[in-house]
């Protein structure tokens, strides 16, 4: 007999006893004359028996989940802003204390040097120092060599991305404030119209170098990240002098002057540096999530895993 009327699909529910009276009656009438459906019925009866037998041997529900839920219910709900603030405050003791002290000291010395130089020269001193100080600090915010409690932190419900973002906000924000304070302090020895240029002079490089230091520290470790950032920054300040001595590179068609112009143009383009920094930041968030999953699975915590 044809089963096109869909009664065969109702057989599991017939066996489970959850069909309404009308459907149940229709199925029983159909079964009397359909051998295929009777064969299906035998199978479903066996499935029900196996599943119920299996589930009867499962342990009963413990009381602890209810108690846990009731405890959480009795606590007032925390808003997003409050949770963010709690996360930031919780991360402060977990960031290496040396970062706060060293950044403050170096920027303080840098400010004194800038103030002594005065004018545009003082601004260039801050443009040279601020990005490097921030990059070194950011290179040291994550990874097992910087965070002995990393595995414990990964066992909490807070995602690795949230931990990384909150630490980045703290350290980069701290260095940003230091650089702004030092720049404003230059008002004593430099014309006010210079300040905007000075800020733009270090803001883009600070963001880019920090993002690069972060992704390199996740991939290769803090020491390598700091060394690479330092080398890149030194090249930025000496490229003009070195490249300018060479009229044309051997084998290249592009004159050295053009290369120098392109290179220095890049370091003056805040928008380009911010865009690149955003890409590097996205890569860092992806990498830290993968590292977190690897640690949870019992993998290595080394930067290249």
């Amino acid at each position: 007999m044809s089963c096109e009327n869909g009664l065969r699909e109702l057989l599991p529910f017939y066996v489970a006893g959850t069909l309404g009276e009308r459907d149940r009656g229709a199925v029983e009438v159909h079964l009397a004359s359909c051998a295929e459906c009777r064969a299906d019925l035998a199978l479903w009866n066996g499935v029900e028996e196996a599943i119920i037998a299996g589930d009867r041997q499962l342990p009963p529900a413990p009381i602890a989940p209810l108690q846990g839920a009731l405890s959480a219910v009795m606590q007032p709900e925390v808003g997003v802003a409050a949770r963010t603030w709690q996360l930031l405050c919780a991360q402060i003791p977990l960031v290496q204390k040396e970062i706060w002290v060293a950044s403050g000291l170096v920027m303080g010395l840098g400010f004194l040097l800038a103030a002594a130089s005065g004018g545009a020269e003082g601004g260039r001193v801050l443009e040279a120092i601020a990005p490097l100080v921030a990059a070194v600090g950011v290179a040291m915010i994550h990874g097992p060599e910087n965070d002995p409690a990393l595995e414990l932190a990964l066992a909490t419900p807070t995602s690795p991305r949230q931990v990384l973002l909150s630490r980045l906000l703290l350290v980069f924000g701290y260095n940003l404030l230091l650089a702004l304070a030092a720049t404003l302090g230059l008002l004593a020895v430099a014309p006010p119209e210079l300040l905007g240029m000075v800020i733009l002079g270090w803001l883009g490089p600070m963001t880019l170098l920090s993002a690069l230091a972060l992704v390199l520290s996740l991939r290769m470790g803090a020491s390598t990240a700091i060394a690479v950032g330092f080398a890149l920054w030194m090249v930025r300040w000496t490229a003009g002098g070195v490249l300018g001595q060479m009229p044309v590179f051997v084998g290249w068609e592009i004159p050295a002057e053009t290369l120098v112009a392109i290179y220095e143009g890049f370091w003056r383009s805040t928008a380009l540096q911010m865009g690149l920094a955003a890409l590097l930041m996205a890569a860092s968030l992806w990498m830290v999530n993968r590292q977190g999953d690897s640690l949870r699975r019992g993998g290595s915590a080394s930067p290249s895993s």
Binding site: V47, G54, D55, L58, P65, L66
Partner: protein, 196 residues
């Protein structure tokens, strides 16, 4: 170890009333809901996660989610289906978050019926073993549908609600499960007639 909870004040406490009390901030509503249904969502969480510890976490998260979402329950259908839907989502999220393969609990082989003839008992156990093994080999999607139909006793629409999928998908999964089980039994040298 399960601790006996206070029985509902009246047997007429219906699901909608329990959830309404939860929505009104009455913790007793949550306690009564747990007393009425606690075992079944826990069993489902165990099937989803394969781990006692994770199942307890999932159940706790589900009870909390039920508390917070109680205002959205419109009373259409049983609270059990609503609660199992929450457990389903929490369970899948938990296993995805921890990126652990969904462990399958080994299906119990059942307790032999002492009143049966030993020969028949042995045959019955062989059939159970074959089916239990075949059930273990199903994917989570197909196994959970069978759990919801045969252990949790949900209707077709309720199963679709729990799994957040169309009714047609539930029927397809049942059909696929049937074909898989049939193939597995055939490989084990069994036929449906042996199950009768």
């Amino acid at each position: 170890m399960e601790i006996a909870l206070t029985a509902p004040a009246t047997m007429e406490d219906c699901d909608a009333e329990l959830v309404r009390r939860m929505a009104g901030g009455e913790e007793q509503g949550l306690r009564l809901l747990f007393a009425k249904y606690g075992r079944r969502p826990f069993a489902y969480a165990l099937r989803l996660t394969g781990s006692q510890g994770m199942a307890e976490e999932v159940l706790q998260d589900s009870l909390l989610a039920a508390w917070r979402g109680a205002r959205e329950f419109r009373g259409e259908g049983r609270a059990l289906a609503w609660l199992l839907g929450i457990v389903h989502r929490q369970g899948l999220n938990a296993t995805r978050r921890k990126q652990l393969p969904i462990e399958r609990l080994e299906a119990a082989r059942g307790v032999p019926d002492q009143s049966e003839d030993p020969g028949e008992q042995a045959e019955r156990n062989d059939r159970r073993m074959a089916l239990a093994t075949a059930l273990d080999q199903l994917s989570v999607d197909h196994r959970t549908v069978l759990e919801l139909v045969f252990y949790q006793g949900l209707s077709l629409n309720e199963v679709a609600q729990v799994c957040s999928c169309p009714v047609g998908t539930v029927k397809s999964r049942l059909s696929y499960a049937k074909a898989s089980l049939r193939s597995a039994l055939a490989r084990a040298g069994m036929k449906e007639e042996d199950l009768l």
